[in-house]
Amino acid sequence: MPNLNVAVIIKLEPDFSEGNVSYNADGTLNRAETKSILGPHSAIACQAAFYARVKFGAKVSVGTMGPPNADAALAQAQLICDAEELHLYSDRTFAGADTLATAETLRAGIAKMDGKMDIVFSGHRASDGETGQTGPQTAWKLGFTFLGHVVSYDIDLERRVVRARRLISLQGVYDVIEEVEAPLPVFIAIDPSYKPSFDTVSQRLALEKYQKEAKERSADYKRHLKTFNAQQLQVDPKMVGLPGSPTIVYKVEKIPKAKASRKAEVIDGTNREQLHRVAAKIHEVLGGMVIK
């Protein structure tokens, strides 16, 4: 039996790859035409969970709130982190949820996972909503210590503490690398720059073993999938979906064109003489110096 349980919460998101993303005439995202995938930040969270799988033999569970087709994202996640258990929280009652109401559903879902969780991972933020709120709010509702912007972590199993490095950007000041220690359980929002490293021979052997296992499991992912509706999650309907959402989207409009801040000289990009003038201007601006 592994002595470490980790969970990952993920999100099915629009695929913003060129050619896949489609916009409506008013500039809003055309969700019907845009393919959905496992969000890139969710994928990084799965890598962080896989690190615990390889290094400590942790048992991994993955959960998501979403429509029935979000099971495809769970299968992709399973392939990355070799999850034993996949959870889909799907119910019309959850529709229209803002971050606080989503966090309530995820809290209830994590409570249904097999085993008491030691670490829950989430991505830094979703690529569509981009609020970065759901992770910390889920952590708070779980009563877990929240550690955000984590670029690397390790666990002292004996002392049951996690030691993490965080990258904090204070705009207009400087960046700070902070090293923190916190007792388990913790909730970790993983920074986009996270890169797991597997340094020892035994880790690399475990890596191969679990990757192979992940492939096998993911090929038959439905066997590991459990779907929960609101009743099965035992959530209070007042706390989820629209009723549990303090915020609403009131309107969507085009940002009015700002007053021009500069008066541009238009240069014909096919005219070499004009580009020569641009080059001369560049040298002038940079102090007329050859900077090399």
Partner: protein, 392 residues
């Protein structure tokens, strides 16, 4: 009134307020000046500051627009830790006795009406957990705010009835495309089936979009000392070390920055190489616009890992740069990007579309595709170089 005042959560580094804190205070002041005239002169701008040895910055916060400053000073608050900070800020927000120290005490006061946080590494997460604790809503990355009386008809909030919501904070956030605004409201449920109050109406504010007010050393305010009570469990995260780091991408020491955006799409790998060549020619650093950092283009691992990363994003989601020369190639000019480069000295844009917003933000607009323009531009730069060297 159950809900009163606008609370602003201040961030500081080693006792110096970070710029966004003063920007938030400025916007809070402007909003509350209007509010005071229209609704109530009793409601205040209240700054909250946590830390160790922070009494010294309270006067400065008054001079930048706060009517009152509530500060909590403790060695336990020296560095920001989400858990303990969330608890202390929530305690302050719910403490009626503190309000009596700076305003005509309202016997009905329950919690703040509005609350502002910074949309940076600390504030974005702190705002999430504080609002989870206070069981209210939060809008993130806001760049425009309006207080108005709104008529709302909502399937759930009003059960389909038209109702007036007074003193509502309209919170505008730029959509990920950068050309749309979504207005978020935080509204109580007036639906008789599930009536619930959601206050404070709170948001996190993008650094760099609002101006601080001019510092006025004669401004007077009330400074309130708050002594938090700590549960030992709330102190369980230990900060072992803190090291300021220079970003791996160094924009500050470069005279020029060359950035690319979605215009690389026709031949991403080749176009990124072109940008790198141009950067080498000018000894410039390479920047990107936000969509690029989402890795939307299928390029090789080597390129994606070093150039299409969040560290290089210029704009509200990334860095602000002010080089002597800024070149934007294949960037249309979403407001998020403009905010990050508008203070550059001389700006050149390369874009086939003369209607793109970047045209209003540059000094020279080269109409053309980057793959056609940049190779010629590099040749011309090289052609001029010997003449300059000879002159020296």
């Amino acid at each position: 009134m159950k809900y009163e005042h606008l609370y602003v959560v201040i961030e500081h580094e080693e006792g110096e307020p970070v710029p966004v804190s003063l920007e938030m205070l400025g916007e809070a002041r402007r909003l509350m000046d209007g509010y005071n005239k229209k609704y109530s002169a009793n409601e205040k701008v209240v700054a909250i500051v946590l830390g160790s040895g922070v009494r010294a910055i309270c006067d400065e916060l008054v001079q930048y627009g706060a009517d009152a400053v509530i500060y909590a000073d403790s060695p336990e608050l020296k560095y920001s830790r989400n858990l303990v900070d969330t608890k202390v800020i929530s305690q302050i927000a719910l403490d009626k006795s503190l309000v009596a120290k700076f305003a005509d005490s309202s016997p009905d006061f329950v919690r703040p009406r509005y609350m502002f946080f910074a949309a940076d590494s600390i504030g974005r997460q702190l705002s999430s957990t504080v609002m989870a604790q206070l069981d209210s809503g939060l809008a993130s990355d806001i760049n425009k705010l309006v207080i108005a009386d709104l008529e709302i008809r909502h399937e759930h909030k009003t059960k389909g009835q038209q109702m007036v919501y007074e003193r509502t904070l309209e919170m505008y956030r730029p959509d990920f495309s950068g050309f749309l605004w979504t207005t978020i409201l935080c509204l109580d449920n007036r639906n008789p089936a599930i009536a619930r109050d959601y206050h404070p109406q709170a948001c996190s504010i993008i650094p760099g979009v609002f101006e601080p007010i001019e510092r006025d050393t004669s401004r007077k305010g009330v400074i309130v000392d708050y002594s938090p009570t700590f549960d030992p469990d709330d102190l369980k995260v230990k900060v072992l070390s803190r090291t300021p780091v220079k970003s791996a991408v160094d924009y500050d020491s470069k005279k020029a920055v060359v950035s690319f955006g979605r215009g690389i799409k026709d031949a991403p790998e080749q176009n990124i190489k072109l940008m790198v060549d141009l950067a080498k020619e000018l000894d410039a650093e390479v920047g990107v616009s936000l969509p690029i950092s989402k890795k939307p283009y299928p390029v090789s691992e080597g390129i994606s890992s070093s150039y299409m990363i969040p560290d290089r994003v210029i704009g509200t989601s990334g860095r602000k740069v002010m080089p002597l020369l800024y070149i934007a190639a294949g960037i249309s000019g979403a407001m998020q990007h403009i905010a990050g480069m508008k203070e550059s000295g001389f700006v050149i844009a390369i874009n086939p579309d003369v209607e793109s917003p970047i045209k209003d933000e540059c000094d020279m607009f080269i109409k053309g595709r980057m793959e056609d323009v940049i190779p010629v531009l590099i040749e011309e730069l090289r052609a001029i170089r010997p003449a300059l060297e000879a002159r020296r």
